[in-house]
Symmetry: C2
Subunit: 398 residues, 2 copies
């Protein structure tokens, strides 16, 4: 008799991506597949100093069990970090530290979703969000997006129709879309949250990665224009894309009751996030090196995004369409089929692997009604030279 | 309209402990309440060196996203560590790294428990296990224990009656019981697992903390005597009690299919455990300092356990009964009511706080049928002097 696993596992399907990632081991492959930041950009000296200081000056705190809510010096630094990004009045006890922002999603699922509950997400949205919420039994509803982010009129209709437990958005340089929700739409989202008393989760791992002008304020920051909306907005932040994913330091800001329930769930998920990593992150933020680190990261990714856009135009021309991203880590593109070219991104991905370049086809990013001609290209991991070479290979794979 | 939380939260009750822990902030209190290791025993120099080496020699790995299964150098070290503890043939791919062993419990819950499923636990058992499994909808069945651990005849009857999804045991210096499952019973457990094709989860955070002779081999190690049982045993390990809880490094050993499903669940729980903490732990284990660290820790806790036992006899005499623990961090005791003394541990806890000493009453450790005269005393956090002073206060509180 084999083991009987929990029925919630029946809701999850991960094989498509797993199969693709197996192929990435092929020697010489250029990968546009992952959303990994470039290791060459990590501020190793700064982190080494931060870790050493933490173990020297607060070894008790850094190595002992800690509060489930998070290590207080880090919570204070993160509150300051969010205030500096325009979120008025945020204090350390308005946030909890999570084991990466993936855990913030998991805790929202655990805290909020009963089996059969509906959750509205963008179509397309972050793959691991889809699976995470489905493991808690969510029925996902897909709201369409364009280059300005989620289409608010359609979102409103879906809220009315489905009465979701919450709405999940990646408003700033979305994954996989790269889209930037306009300021006008952000304000409309706040109105919807209040009008329908609906929780809106703003996942914001990429907001600091802008290449030109800064993006509009986060939806959370905009609640200062509409204080009644504050209790309906939850916000997930992360150090992963700007400092180091290996630390696994994210955070969740939400109204007190939700935060208390999420903390209780976290207690039984992992007790607390590594205090060793938290104390190191706190020392790093306190050191004042973050603004310079962000400048370096923005500049490098900006150059890569530019190079990828130019190379796509040069090597794929009319066969592909996309909006040049203004920040983040991703191009979201659509195969046009122009000139009788290939229009199925999964098939294109196979041919691309044969040419030595990898990307993720768009279908798995949709909770419903996938557009099979879409694909995601990450410019995070490869440098400009590799990007040009890799896009050249894409051209040959067409 | 307030937020509607997930129905799974209705299964959890944490207020009793929370209220108690609030009182711990009182100045001058001596705490026998928590299971925190003593910060004074952390090998700070060893960990500082390990962290520095990890950031110097493998900064890419230590700061980048990592495999959900765990950082390979750590998995290799942990496999060696388990082999040295008598688990034959364990290789790095037989285990996954978890964010503390609390996450191993959470992943077992997520992977195995459908709402309404039954799980057998010891009565009493680890508090956070009870809540963790209930959040996944488990109905917990309580199997009685004595000083030799779970009573196997009764366990067998409960397995037959309830057909549980799995059995959860802390066989070695259990929390809160301090009990040590005898070698004979360990072998009987293996027989039950095979006979009833029932998964047995062995949670083993305390096995290395023995004061005299080493305990019998772990249930997992004993599978070498009965290879057919290997697939029915899952084993949770942890660095928290022997090296540092702040690292949040635990591990789960299980048969391949269960491990694969747990890995999938972990992917959507926190993506992976901090590679920064994992690389540091791997370097530490590789440094060869662990055996000396274990010697120091065993000696210190042994002295504390001895002091607590003597003080209890001296100050509480016949009013309390207990078995002297041979390892771990806890005394499990029962108020006898001798001489008309207090017999309700919750009431005794209140009086003790007034005298400046804290412990946890036993009731919350039972999934069912609590014995209200029981209590747990930890000798982990306070040194010998404080233990004698604290137990004196307990005597005055009687």
């Amino acid at each position: 008799m084999p083991l009987q696993f929990a029925s919630r596992l029946d809701n999850v399907e991960t094989s498509a991506i797993r199969e693709l990632f197996k192929l990435l081991g092929k020697p010489g492959i250029i990968s546009f597949a992952g959303g990994f930041p470039d290791s060459a950009m990590f501020d190793i000296d700064g982190l080494k100093q931060a870790a050493d200081e933490a173990l020297t000056h607060e070894s008790g705190g850094a190595l002992q069990y800690g509060a489930t809510e998070g290590y207080e010096p880090l919570r204070t630094q993160l509150a300051d970090f969010m205030q500096a990004k325009g979120v008025a009045g945020v204090e350390s006890n308005h946030l909890i530290v999570t084991t990466g922002s993936q855990q913030a999603l998991d805790l929202l699922g655990k805290t909020m979703i009963s089996p059969g509950d509906k959750v509205i997400v963008e179509g397309p949205t972050f793959l691991a969000t889809i699976q995470c919420f489905r493991l808690y039994g969510a029925e996902l509803i897909s709201a369409p997006i364009d280059a300005d982010g989620v289409q608010v009129n359609q979102l409103e209709q879906l809220i009315v129709q489905h009465k979701p437990k919450f709405v999940y958005l990646i408003p700033t340089f979305g994954n996989p879309s790269g889209a930037l929700l306009s300021l006008e739409r952000r304000r409309q989202i706040l109105e919807l949250a209040v009008k329908y008393q609906t929780l809106v989760v703003e996942d914001d791992p990429y907001g600091d990665l802008y290449f030109g002008a800064p993006p509009p304020p986060s939806i959370l920051a905009l609640t200062k224009e509409m204080p009644a909306a504050r209790e309906w907005i939850a916000h997930c932040g992360s150090m992963s894309k700007v400092l180091s994913p290996g630390l696994r330091v994210g955070w969740l800001i939400a109204q007190p009751e939700l935060l208390a329930k999420a903390t209780m769930c976290k207690q039984f998920s992992d007790a607390h996030t590594s205090t060793f990593a938290q104390a190191t992150a706190a020392r790093y933020l306190k050191s004042g090196r973050m603004p310079e680190t962000l400048k370096i990261v923005r500049k490098a990714y900006g150059a890569r995004a530019h190079a990828m856009g130019e190379a796509l135009k040069k090597h794929l021309g009319g066969a592909i369409e996309f909006t040049q991203p203004q920040g983040g880590l991703f191009f979201w593109a659509r195969l046009t089929g122009a000139g009788g070219g290939i229009q199925d991104a999964a098939e294109f991905a196979k041919r691309a692997i044969e040419q030595g370049v990898a990307f993720v086809p768009g279908t798995p990013f949709y909770a419903a009604n996938p557009d099979p001609s879409t694909l995601r290209l990450s410019f995070a991991t490869a440098n400009v030279e590799k990007i040009e070479e890799g896009v050249g290979r894409l051209g040959r794979a067409l």
